[in-house]
């Protein structure tokens, strides 16, 4: 497709550990359109963060290593760029917001200094210009008295405010893509609502595409246009937002939805939990990684790892069993 802003194909990342090679990402392919918000959902260890950090080449090497794949961004492969080239992309064309606003800001530098850094580095602004722009950015993310607060240090900000600062930093150079790695997980619900609201506003003002990594199917529902569900380093389901929630197809997605209590639920029912534990893969599996926990498992699941199959309009799922009819797919 020509209109893809980012086109990732066959990404594989491993980590060398004393116990062997850990296969964290096992062939992940997806596209991101301009202005689109893509939700990446999965539990800890499913490879969602590692995939996105691999694209930005933020995986510590060693022990990590990207062993296969392409990531096309404006005709260039991010995975083949030199260190200087990728550094020029990071923070300017692709912005990042991390999960923990407490540890991702430098505690000994003022907020102003940290905000000016990308502006001076990537956009070549003078100190004076960068200072004005930094104040504008803080104002844009809803921090009162922006100008005075530039000389404050991170510890003088609350968790929600720090996450606003992180967002301001990520958006400082007007990136085409914003990658947000669980940006609201460490925050209280009322603050989480403030941040998602802010991101929605900025998205419509600035028009950037967003990759929103989360374990929370609730947050994604109100934010994303399209969702990828990951498990064991594979994408196991992908669909437009309404389609995914109306017709979840993969047994893992079904299990995740069943294990979520809803604040608008009525009456009482037991949650449908997924028994067992997520896998730790020291070998790239030749079988379906979800098979050991799956209720629907058939013999074929142990023989061939299912690829993503078309199951509906723009809807793919990696499962040999049609969970609606119980029939085995060809």
């Amino acid at each position: 497709m020509p209109d893809l802003l980012l086109d990732v194909q066959g990404l594989e990342t491993i980590f060398k550990t004393p116990d062997g090679e850990l296969h964290a990402v096992n062939g992940v392919s997806f596209g991101l359109k301009e202005g689109e918000t893509l939700g990446v959902v999965g539990e800890s260890g499913c490879g969602k963060s590692v995939s996105m950090l691999s694209i930005l080449r933020l995986i510590p090497t060693p022990p990590g290593k990207i062993i296969a794949g392409k990531a096309n961004f404006f005709g260039q492969d991010l995975l083949k760029m030199s260190k200087d080239e990728i550094r020029a992309v990071r923070g300017s064309q692709i912005g990042i917001v991390f999960q923990d606003p407490m540890t991702s800001l430098n505690p000994v530098l003022t907020i102003g200094r940290q905000l000016q850094e990308p502006l001076m580095l990537h956009l070549g602004m003078t100190k004076k210009l960068a200072e004005d722009r930094a104040a504008q950015l803080l104002d844009m993310v809803g921090i009162p008295n922006a100008k005075e607060r530039l000389s404050d240090y991170p510890h003088q900000f609350s968790g929600g405010m720090r996450q606003r600062v992180m967002i301001a930093m990520a958006l400082a150079c007007a990136p085409q893509i914003l990658i947000a790695d669980e940006p609201t997980t460490a925050l209280d619900v009322t603050i989480q609502a403030q941040i998602t609201d802010l991101v929605k506003r900025l998205r419509s003002e600035l028009g950037m595409a967003i990759i929103w990594i989360t374990h929370d199917l609730g947050v994604v529902a109100g934010l994303a246009h399209r969702v990828i569900v990951m498990y064991g380093g594979f994408i196991i389901e992908e669909a437009p937002i309404n389609e995914l929630y109306a017709n979840p197809e993969h047994p893992y997605t079904l299990g995740l939805m069943g294990s979520l209590p809803r604040v608008d639920e009525t009456g009482h029912h037991r949650l449908t939990s997924i028994e067992g534990l997520p896998p730790v893969l020291y070998e790239k599996p030749t079988y379906c990684p979800f098979a050991p926990r799956c209720k629907w498992v058939v013999e074929k699941c142990w023989k061939i790892n299912p690829p993503l199959l078309n199951v509906g309009p723009e809807h793919t799922a990696a499962c040999w069993v049609d969970t609606r009819t119980g029939k085995v797919r060809e």
């Binding site: 539990e43 800890s44 609350s158 968790g159 929600g160 405010m161 209280d188 619900v189 009322t190 603050i191 989480q192 609502a193 403030q194 998602t196 609201d197 374990h215 929370d216 199917l217 609730g218 947050v219 529902a221 109100g222 937002i241 309404n242 929630y245 109306a246 299990g255 995740l256 939805m257 069943g258 294990s259 979520l260 209590p261 809803r262 604040v263 608008d264 639920e265 009525t266 009482h268 037991r270 949650l271 449908t272 939990s273 997924i274 028994e275 534990l277 997520p278």
Partner: protein, 330 residues
């Protein structure tokens, strides 16, 4: 509220203040008013959900009930016995009947003890079993929380978060308590594992006729597990009612805002909701706002809210609220 017969725990006008000392002579200059006048009953066999944002005093309340943190003033009756004035051996005896499950399954298990020693320790400490009996009981307990009894000889680091939380639950059950404070028992776990642990807690409650105080910041999980819910903000209970009342007919503006901030895992239902997004952060408990604690962030605050602390009153049978204007939501 007066103590009635079906209340297992009665909390009356509970205050927990943490003194702040300054200077060479360590003069007390103020106090963190973590819990600031809280009253409620927990009925036999019920689950009372206690929700609030970080810093609202919910965990401190739980600890003060168990006398793990001695209250500054106020009353805690357990089975009609006043715990606040119990000391030494008498208090230790009462502890058999009330246990706690902690939030962090990584920090709450001693890494140098085997699982068997951890789960069996309460039995030996309280002299209710010989070593051989304790070993037998440990096996039963592990089986009951769906862990393999042979795990007794292993160490905590060999287990995942969900399994560790089961070990913590087995330890809490060892002395056959009638009351358990669950302090955010699932917030450190993945979604699919959360459901496993919650289902287990519900089964155990039915089987052993347990009474729970379930502390959490996740309102959807609290709705799922609780019979009644209390909402805390800055050391004060804002609203208390049966779970359906509080979720379907909330009478306090804070509860209303909190509920509307929770994302629903359903894009269509989510887009139809009217959201109230609170401004700002939770104020410091060192110097809380005068009058109503919530007034600085309240969308309907008026002059009276700064002057008069609203009474915690019963507006509908069993439905308590601390707001001057709750009638508006009737």
């Amino acid at each position: 509220m007066s103590t009635n017969n079906d209340a297992l725990v009665h909390v009356g006008d509970l205050f927990v203040h943490f003194p702040i000392y300054r200077g060479l002579i360590r003069k007390q200059v103020g106090a963190v008013r973590a819990v600031d006048g809280v009253s409620f009953d927990i009925k036999r066999g019920e689950t009372l959900g206690l929700v609030g944002e970080s810093g609202s005093g919910k965990s401190t309340t739980g600890r003060a009930i168990l006398q793990l943190r001695r209250p500054t003033s106020g009353k805690v009756d357990f089975n009609g016995i006043d715990l606040v004035h119990l000391k030494g051996e008498e208090l230790r005896k009462m502890r058999r009947k009330m246990q706690m499950i902690f939030q962090d399954p990584y920090a709450s298990l001693n890494p140098r003890m085997t699982v068997g020693e951890i789960v069996g320790e309460p039995l030996l400490v309280h002299n209710v079993a010989s070593e051989a009996e304790a070993n037998e009981r440990v096996k039963q307990l592990l089986e009951r929380v769906k862990l393999n009894p042979s795990f007794a000889s292993r160490y905590p680091h060999e287990f995942s978060g969900g399994q560790r939380q089961r070990i913590g639950i087995a330890r809490a059950l060892a002395l056959q308590p009638s009351f358990i404070v669950c302090d955010e028992p699932i917030s450190a776990l993945d979604v699919s594992i959360q459901a496993q642990v919650v289902n287990l807690l519900e089964e155990l409650q039915e089987e052993f006729n347990l009474t729970y105080l379930f502390i959490a910041h996740d309102l959807s999980m609290v709705r799922h597990i609780s019979d009644r819910v209390a909402v805390m903000y800055l050391g004060v209970i804002m609203e208390l009612a049966s779970r359906d009342e509080i979720y379907l007919k909330p009478l306090h503006p804070y509860t209303r805002a909190l509920l509307s901030a929770i994302p629903i895992p359903d894009p269509i239902a989510d887009s139809k909701r009217q959201r109230v997004i609170l401004e700002g952060d939770i104020p410091s408990p060192v110097n809380p706002p005068s009058g109503c604690r919530f007034r600085t962030r309240c969308p309907i605050a008026e002059q009276i809210c700064a002057e008069v602390r609203p009474e915690f009153r019963e507006l509908r049978p069993g439905h308590f609220t601390a707001c001057h204007f709750s009638e508006r939501f009737l």
